[in-house]
Amino acid sequence: MEIQQLRAVASQVRRDIVRMVAGANSGHPGGSLGCADFLTVLYFEIMKHNPDHFSMDGKGEDLFFLSNGHISPVWYSVLARAGYFPIEELGTFRKINSRLQGHPSVDKKIPGVRMASGSLGQGLSNAIGAALTKKLNRDNALVYSLHGDGELQEGQIWEAAMYAAANKVDNLIATIDYNGRQIDGDVDDVLSLGDLKGKWQAFGWEVLEMDGHDYNSLIGTLNQAKQLTGKGKPIVIIMKTEMGQGVDYMVGSHKWHGVAPNAEQLQLALDQLEETLGDY
């Protein structure tokens, strides 16, 4: 897909995000907006996947695990726009009897979701397990995962990081949403990650960096990561993003991590985001 087309998808995804969160009067717009470009590129340009015939086992397909499940709005929007389920369903987000739970659920059988997430720190382990099964099945497709930077404070992430490097899980590309914000404030103030790149390198991972809002950087780096698979090392991409990207009054502030815009704020946001594919 051309970069212009990808941008158009992401613009619609951002509209979906703010409308979903406003419609539910709850949810997490900040991180969702920040990852809209990445997930659009991943699902519309990078991954080999089959939206028309979702299967839990995903044999022969690339798999994606969202470890920071609270940014479910962006994932649901991208899945719907990619064709996993009807876009009208986005309007049910966080409402009673919906398949679109506040945090991703397998229980509700929403196509595209293979693992529940929300309680943080578990997705890297899940992705490693899926990657190991791909190896056992001689399935050459890849496994992708996304993690928040605040999420890296969870100890299980580092158990998983140690395991993947020691056991050469090299069909795995993890990405960190490095926006420097978490609920209580700046990551540096809450619990600094220190030398993040150095930590992953010390754990034995191949570390790449990219700009999560620059499409050339996103496409180039993800393709480079693909080239680096199969060489004995797991791959992590530290992706610099801005929380709330695309909505001027939300950009760069932790205050929009988990707060819904009111009607007036929603309109202000929608005025900045072009409707490209048609609202749900």
């Binding site: 693992m115 578990q122 382990s125 099964t133 140690m162």
Partner: protein, 319 residues
């Protein structure tokens, strides 16, 4: 009264080890993960036979459970192995979200459960695990009673698609279930038929209940003994069939009274057929160091305790 012959003495964890190896040979999708307790869990035979299907995770149980959940995507059937304490309490949230809520076909195999872990003491003697696991939607909870049944259960759970918690132990105890007995998840075994009182037990307390029934028979009391190897889903019919006959029950388990088999049975009775019930179990206290036998005596989980509880429950039946 049916007599049970002691076929030998073995630890239930060895039944797990043998069962894992055998199901590994039959089903190529079976894989195993262990958090640095391969010898203690008797998983070394599987590791040796299937090195490519064995995953040593190191002392990182949360990652082990998370990986096992991920491995089911693509059709593998992961068996995780560590002590019961580290299989449940330490990783409750990982089991809750990645296994139970996500409905993954993971078999959580837990050794060294309960007081009979012995000398290591209370840090390792988990007595709350059955309660935690049976509260989780989608989870099946199995506590087999001897070596043969643990082996049978280990193999049977591969045929069932869904999360399972399989609990067994360390001590060498009597083997009395026939090696070719059929094990069905969720179907209780009436080991001894009786008319005066029902004793419902699981795990190591099943043999002690058989011994208790023998002593009671000598005193003219005919106890029915049910081996409730599956705590969830609970065989309600077996319970109600027996209790509609005997009108009283003693439950026996190597677990806290809160949350265990006794609670599960009481819930069925309260809804359908309230009768007097006495409980054998640990009453809201941690364990301590000691030999398994000493601990079972000190904490009231021995054969004389079952005999005593049975006599007590009989006095509570209204004429």
């Amino acid at each position: 009264m049916k007599q049970f012959e002691i076929l030998g003495k073995k630890d239930t964890r060895s039944g797990f080890g043998e069962g894992l190896l055998e199901i590994g040979k039959k089903n190529p999708d079976v894989v195993a993960l262990c958090a640095d307790l391969t010898g203690s869990l008797k998983m070394d035979a599987f590791q040796k036979e299937f090195p490519d299907r064995f995953f040593q995770t190191g002392i990182a149980e949360a990652n082990m459970i998370g990986m096992a959940a991920g491995m089911t995507i693509g059709g593998k059937i992961p068996y995780t192995g560590t002590f019961a304490n580290f299989s449940t309490g330490r990783v409750y949230d990982q089991i809750r979200q990645s296994v139970a809520y996500s409905q993954k076909n993971v078999k959580i195999c837990a050794s060294h459960a309960g007081l009979t872990l012995g000398e290591d003491g209370a840090t390792h003697q988990i007595l709350e695990d059955v309660g935690m696991m049976r509260m989780l939607p989608h989870m099946t909870v199995i506590v087999p009673c001897d070596f043969n049944q643990t082996k049978q259960a280990t193999m049977a759970i591969a045929e069932y698609n869904g999360p399972v918690y399989l609990r067994f132990g360390r001590p060498v105890v009597p083997v009395f279930i026939q090696p070719d007995a059929k094990f069905t998840i969720g179907k209780a075994d009436v080991l001894i038929e009786g008319t005066d009182v029902t004793i419902i037990a699981c795990g190591h307390l099943v043999w002690k209940s058989i011994e208790a029934a023998r002593q009671l028979a000598e005193q003219g009391i005919h106890a029915e003994v049910i081996n409730m190897h599956t705590i969830k889903p609970l065989d309600e019919k077996a319970i109600l069939d027996s209790i509609s006959k005997t009108k009283c029950v003693v439950t026996a388990e190597e677990h806290m009274l809160n949350g265990g088999l006794g609670d599960a049975v009481a819930q069925v009775l309260a809804r359908h057929l309230p009768v007097p019930q006495e409980y054998i179990g640990v009453n809201d206290t941690f364990g301590e160091s000691g030999t398994p036998d000493e601990l079972m005596v000190k904490y009231g989980l021995d054969t004389p305790n079952i005999v005593e509880a049975t006599k007590k429950v009989l006095t509570r039946i209204k004429p």
